[in-house]
């Protein structure tokens, strides 16, 4: 696998959306290619950062109470 082909699979690889054979090829490439490895690391860090910064917000308890009340009225 060449660098260009590898980078094309970057997000699907990090999202665990590749078929096992392609995933194996990507992993093999990353093991010996430092530039691709660094790029994948950076994007993986970005996705973890994104997930961590966006999940703190949950529904306010009043909203849940309101919904439960509405269900009772149905």
């Amino acid at each position: 696998m060449k660098c260009r082909e590898c980078v094309e699979q970057l997000y699907p690889y990090l999202d665990k959306e590749l078929t096992p054979p392609v995933e194996t090829e990507v992993r093999a490439h990353l093991e010996h290619c430092h530039p691709c490895h660094d790029q994948f690391e950076f994007e993986a860090l970005f996705l973890r950062f994104l997930h961590a910064r966006t999940r703190a917000q949950g529904a306010p308890p009043e909203l849940k109470e309101k919904i439960v009340r509405e269900l009772l009225e149905e």
């Binding site: 699907p12 999202d15 950062f49 994104l50 966006t54 917000q57 529904a59 919904i67 269900l71 009225e73």
Partner: protein, 200 residues
Amino acid sequence: MAPDTPPPASDGDTDGDRAKRAAFEREALVHLDSVFRVARRLAGNAADADDLVQETFLKAYRSWNQYQPGTNAKGWLLTILRNSFINEYRRRNRHPETVDVDAVAPYAVFSEVQQEDPQRAFFDRIVDDEVLRAIDGLPESFRETLVLSDVEGLPYQEIARVLGVPVGTVKSRLFRARQALQAKLYDYAVGMGYIKGRAT
């Protein structure tokens, strides 16, 4: 919306009603936080998001017989949410679209930060609100794809189902949305002095 009224006496409740409610709470209401987060990013303001969430759960409850137990309740709820948003809320939507996804060079940020911040420490300094604001600046089709994937963790196939688009479209939107968001946050970090930024 009717003013708050106390719940009616549950005398008229049959065992069937109670069973339905219990199943709904167990399988659907557990996804309230996810539905809320997606609604918040779609609607752009708290009041519309709350209404949208209430409406989603009410519609879901009324069509509960169409839901197949054990299938993906979260995806089902998010589909209802999105349809409600498109049909009733979208025109009121006041999202400031500030990110031009077409103008973003792929992987530009990675090459920029390589030299000066190899530990990527600038990520640590960008707070939640700033990330959410940047997401809110994405064009709608990119925003919803990114939220379903990166906030809620849905697989491509499920996102494609919720949005009614092919998986290939999900992939390409996700790529462009992430790159645009990254560029936006990078510019923000440079503006705040967290990193030096590219020479101009």
